[in-house]
Amino acid sequence: MAARAVHGIGVPVKRKEDPRFIRGKGTYVDDIKLPGMLVMDIVRSPYAHARIKRIDVSKALAMPGVIDVITGEELAKANLAWMPTLMGDRQMVLPTDRVVYYAQEVAAVIATDRYRAADAVLAVEVEYEPLPPVLNPFDALKPDAPLVRPDREQKSNHIWHWEAGDKEKTDRIFHEAEVVVAQDLYIPRIHVASIETCGCVANYDPVTDKLTIWMTSQAPHAHRTVFSLVTGIPEHKIRIISPDIGGGFGGKVPVYPGYVIATYATLKHKKPIKWIEDRSENLQADSFARDYHIHAELAATRDGKIRGLRVRVVADHGAFDAAANPSRFPAGLFSVCTGSYDMQAAHIQVDGVYTTKPPGGVAYRCSFRVTEAVHTIERMVDILADELGMDPAEIRFKNFVQPHQFPYKSPTGWEYDSGNYPAALQKALETIGYQELRREQAERRARGELMGIGISTFTEIVGAGPSHTFDILGIKMFDSAEIRVHPTGAVIVRIGVQTQGQGHETTFAQIVAEELGIPVEYITVEHGDTDTAPYGLGTYASRSTPTAGAATAVAARKIREKARLIAAHLLEVSPDDLEWKDYAFRVKGAPDRHKTMQEIAFAAYTNFPLGLEPGLEAECYYDPPNLTFPFGAYVCVVDIDRGTGQVKIREFLAVDDCGTIINPMIVEGQIHGGLTMGMAAALLEEIVYDENGTMLTGTFMDYLLPTAVETPHWKTAKTITPSPHHPLGAKGVGESPTIGAPPALVNAVVDALSHLGVRHIDIPITPAKVYRILQEKGVAE
């Protein structure tokens, strides 16, 4: 065993989880099949806003194989017609009198198989009285707007107002500013569209009195606590298992009505209940992301020094405030929108508004509204450059927070841990040959061709906690790891976070391998089962490595400290005479006299010093002292087809800095995936409603996910600026590319058209949108 390579930090170890996925041996929720299992299917509203006059379930109930039809009225008797959201709002599980969005859950059919359930869904008769829909937040705020939520005390569609920064100082700076640019930006409603839709298998066992729920959950522990609070079932009698999860991206953080109804049904029928959404249900009713109406202004000097940022946002939250932000941050971490630029003041205001659209506002591959923040500042900096006739690279160099300013206190109160922004941009520009591209662009322009170069130099903010600032429903946002080294030196690691494709089973094993000198193949990482894993807040917002990764390193170091005592005993020296070097405890000055962790582990169970507890285990609940601030510099080159308006990505280079890199291959994979999603948001994806509030993009024919054909060949590069406070120097990376890519693309497209007087285009930049601009500017073919 000892002769094997450790494959610790920095090694591109192949992912431990891949063999089972590649061979089709993953176990997703829909793969769970239990004896006697019944199937649930959901009746959904054809209206965005309507009063329910009558629900007649008799025809459905009479159909063969139909066991039950559950309505809101029945749930109300069990006090389950409503449930709390993670944002302190409440949300209908099933309605008793009205529906507030298209495809809202109206009733649930329980049947012996999925086909019968689907037929019975059509047989449930619901009589609606349509009410006027409210489809955008500006209409919703008008005094005569229909009330989306008459159940609330406050009789308006306004949910909350939230501010960050210094209003007075910012206003003063704007008042005195030499130059002010302003822009409206809309970041449309999009969907995470995980390949695995949401669902669960809920199984109440009356003999053990235990409720087990296999669930598509990014946060099984938090969900267990919520389930316990909602149902009154003691927490130790609930077990939530997240098996393999086919993509989360924030969409599997909220609790959906389906989970609750299935749980109610298993408690009622004492049989396992399976509920799996189909694709349209997933796209139509599950949590959306974004939907931010932004008005942004930058104040600057005439020579291009940014002095202040002022942003007003009207946020469309749909019918319930069911975002999944930390409690104190109804607008997430949007206030990081001063970005990578040093400025004197900023003031941010966000108003949350109800509309008759599905709830959400989830952090789609983005730690809580950072995509919106980065889009805002990266667009505004380009707009300022355009106003001043400056090169977009030059204006960035001029305004970057400089390396010596770290830790840097941002005007909205964040403390950026580390960074070297000029180095990242420099590297990007040199790698892609920026000056040469600018020359080429000038030549092409002279020939009437449209080519654009876009830059985005973003700062991310990931890894919530620390606990003094971050909690979800009061539960602090720490995370955990528990390590057991068995007598033969094989290891099991259990973590409080939950992988949905990020490669935790590999990365976390490498952390332990590095810290303990045990080859990575002898380390198993388990997660996702609340009966066995330590309590944690789950995986989203790029928080796993910053929190649970740190917990894993700290727990491993605790093991190492105990191992030192055992090694000293075995080598008959004082613990102080030992040093940890080349993956073993070695006697100082006599490195050949050493003990490996495997030898020590065996002794921990067979030959431990008197007075020392046997065994070799440790755990850590890690409360990070700060967030981590990954960053990057992206450059994108596009060509525009004047005959169709099509944007063709010729080249895209991403320079990322996520501090210490644990597995470079996984990091690169995360970057490729994130760039692809970011590209899709910029060019393809949008949830569209018609004037009745009917969703028009409820299939993959209309909700456009990219394929390999649309995806350019990503070029990646890196700089490494470790986090000073993380035990490994690591930061998160999973979301940087989703956040950094859209503005790079938009900046490139706008750059291609800037000589025609174009300053901004809202995403998604569809060919039709571009073509209209080409027509307006007289350059369409």
Binding site: R114, Y115, A118, D119, L122, D278, R279, S280, G643, T644, G645, Q646, L684, V688, L696, T697, M701, D702, L704, L705, P706, T707, V709, E710, T766, P767, A768, Y771, R772, Q775, A780, E781
Partner: protein, 291 residues
């Protein structure tokens, strides 16, 4: 996305299919590649009570030239068409078309016959077949008949096929010398139906004058469209870029698209012009190279 109850029968011959179709009438649907029919059933936009699966009929997937005609069996898969050397060399317009239909997974099942029989103006083969002046062969209880492609598309999802008829074959005249065809499509992403697409087939005389022109347009009207005025404008003319632009403009004017998520109608019309122009240019190049 679960289809309603349906009965299913797999037939082994064209005759068996025709007999069943006449017995079952409009309650039955032919199941070919299933790539249009099954999605419609999953959305319950189609709820046939009977499916007659023709996939096991032997010998209905031929691609061969017979007596001056290219014969395509109804069960030729798009992927087979795409890979056929005969098609690639002699009928590049068909190769162009097969290549841009849906995605490889769909093409492995989708059939050329189904693509026409569905009567969907968004499908790509109708435009190609219009440009090529194909004939559609159908078999019914009273035997076989050949339908000129111009008479085949009646309305959205409605063709000249009778409920008791099976489409068995598509016949395309073998291309003469100095002829060339091309299909050019613009879509939002791969697998999408066209924002606009154009199929063009041109024949030149020895002097380089256009003696035959076929232009079919995809997803630009309630049914597959032939750009008759544009074709006429080309006839007897020497091909110049100006002429091609003029024809493309006429083709665009013939369209009647609807505004939807693919873009507003005027945008689609503009793309129709671009696609027609690009298809004309490519077809012309191929015709000139084919002297």
């Amino acid at each position: 996305m679960i289809p309603g109850p349906v009965r299913y029968r797999r037939v082994r011959s064209v005759d068996e299919a025709v007999v069943l179709l006449s017995q079952l009438g409009t309650d039955a649907k032919v199941l070919s590649g299933g790539q249009s029919l099954i999605p419609m059933m999953k959305f319950r936009l189609a709820e046939p009570s009977y499916l007659i699966d023709i996939n096991a009929i032997p010998g209905l997937d031929f691609i061969e030239e017979r007596g001056g005609v290219l014969c395509l069996g109804a069960l030729v898969r798009e992927s087979t068409l795409e890979r056929s050397m005969l098609v690639r060399q002699r009928y590049p317009i068909l190769h162009d078309t097969a290549e841009v239909i849906a995605d490889p997974l769909v093409r492995n099942l989708a059939t050329v016959g189904g693509n026409l029989a569905h009567g969907d103006p968004a499908n790509d083969h109708p435009a190609t077949m219009l440009a090529l002046r194909a004939q559609v062969v159908a078999r019914g209880p009273n035997g076989e008949r050949s339908i000129p492609i111009d008479d085949f598309f009646v309305d959205t999802f409605v063709t000249a096929l009778q409920p008791d008829e099976l489409l068995t074959e598509i016949r395309i005249p073998v291309p003469p010398p100095r002829s060339g065809g091309a299909y050019v499509k613009f879509e939002r992403k791969v697998g999408d139906y066209a924002i606009a697409a154009a199929g063009v087939f041109l024949v030149l005389d020895e002097a380089g004058r256009i003696t035959q022109a076929g232009i079919g347009l995809t997803n630009l009207s309630y049914k597959p469209l032939r750009a008759v005025d544009a074709e006429r404008a080309l006839l007897g003319q020497y091909a110049s870029d100006e002429l091609l632009r003029y024809a493309a403009e006429l083709a665009a004017q013939a369209t009647d698209p609807v505004s939807d998520l693919r873009g507003p109608a005027d945008y689609k019309r503009a793309v129709a012009r671009t696609m027609t122009l690009r298809a004309l240019r490519r077809a012309l190049e191929r015709a000139q190279a084919n002297a």
